[in-house]
């Protein structure tokens, strides 16, 4: 009954939080994907280890549904491609670590939005900083926050990893 258990557990999570669902039946992969699609949550991926399947799901958050962008400087995803070959730039992925593990732009640095404040010193201020998440909202919030802190050259990547179709790096 992974679906029923996932449903119950999801009710106790805050929007944006990630949940691990452990199951032993192979059908649970398709079931959880379909369930996530039908309930609006994000299916991140599944790790298979022996008989155990670990599914990762992220609870839908309302701001994400609105997709309102406030940070002024943005770049289309396809234009970021050409930039990849002309350093110095850095790509900051503000997804959750498990989303990052399932696929990110090669060379990107991962600092989840929720940890940004305490990890500012990991960000190189001398490079153009391209911020990305799954869609646009977390990256927009991160871009606003960094701009407030005095960072220059902060650019939000639109629309995000959900439409990135080039090679990705895992783990």
């Amino acid at each position: 009954m992974p679906i029923v258990k996932a449903k119950k557990a999801m009710m106790n999570l805050e929007p944006g939080q990630v949940m691990e669902v452990q199951a032993i039946d192979k059908g649970s992969i398709a079931d959880l994907k379909a369930w996530a699609e039908n309930t609006g949550h994000q299916y991140i991926g599944t790790v298979e280890g022996g008989d155990l399947l670990k599914h990762y799901l992220r609870k839908a958050s309302d701001p994400e549904l609105k997709e309102e962008i406030k940070h002024e400087y943005t770049i289309e995803l396809n234009k970021l491609h050409s930039k990849l070959n002309e350093p110095p730039i850095s790509i900051l992925d503000v997804c959750e670590p498990i989303e990052f593990a399932f696929g990110h732009i090669p060379g990107a640095v991962n600092i989840p939005l929720g940890e940004l404040d305490e990890r500012l010193d990991e960000i190189d201020q001398n490079k153009e900083l391209y911020i990305i998440c799954r869609t646009v909202n977390r990256s927009d919030l991160a871009a606003q926050k960094l701009t407030e802190k005095g960072y220059k050259n902060v650019i939000n990547v639109l629309p995000g990893m959900s439409t990135w179709d080039s090679p990705i790096e895992k783990n």
Partner: protein, 132 residues
């Protein structure tokens, strides 16, 4: 699936039937669909206070008993509770209850009692209709 409505008729009373009904019903309800089940004839056993704790396997399929205990599936008693917790509407067929001389208090708490017209009214705008 918040705008999806599922209407199920449960008309049979073996353990297999019970799992089919409650597995589909709880999966749909957990996917935010509105779910109603109409229990009629032997299907009433699925929500009968005593009978649903010891539903028979179909004739000739008794050897599956071991599989059920091994597969770690929840009991029907538990599944009924889960279904109700998820908001699944359980409707017992009035006519069958009259024929079998069963009162409402013979069934698990929280059920509704209604006739065929009650179910048809519920099911008239259902997106998914199933019969077991």
């Amino acid at each position: 699936m918040a705008n999806t409505k599922v209407a199920i008729i449960a008309a049979n009373g073996t353990l297999f039937d019970a799992y089919k009904v409650f597995n589909i019903a709880t999966a749909a309800a957990a996917s935010d669909a509105e779910v109603g089940i109409f229990f009629t004839f032997e299907g009433l056993n699925l929500i009968h206070k005593e009978a649903h704790k010891q539903l028979p396997l179909p004739k000739g399929k008794e050897h599956f008993a071991e599989g059920f205990s091994k597969a770690n599936v929840p009991s029907i008693e538990k599944l009924v509770g889960i279904a109700q917790e998820l908001g699944v509407k359980l409707i017992a067929c009035q006519m069958t209850m009259d024929v079998m001389n069963l009162a409402k208090d013979a069934f698990v708490d929280g059920i509704e009692v209604g006739g065929a017209a009650t179910f048809i009214d519920y099911a008239k705008d259902a997106n998914i209709s199933l019969s077991f």
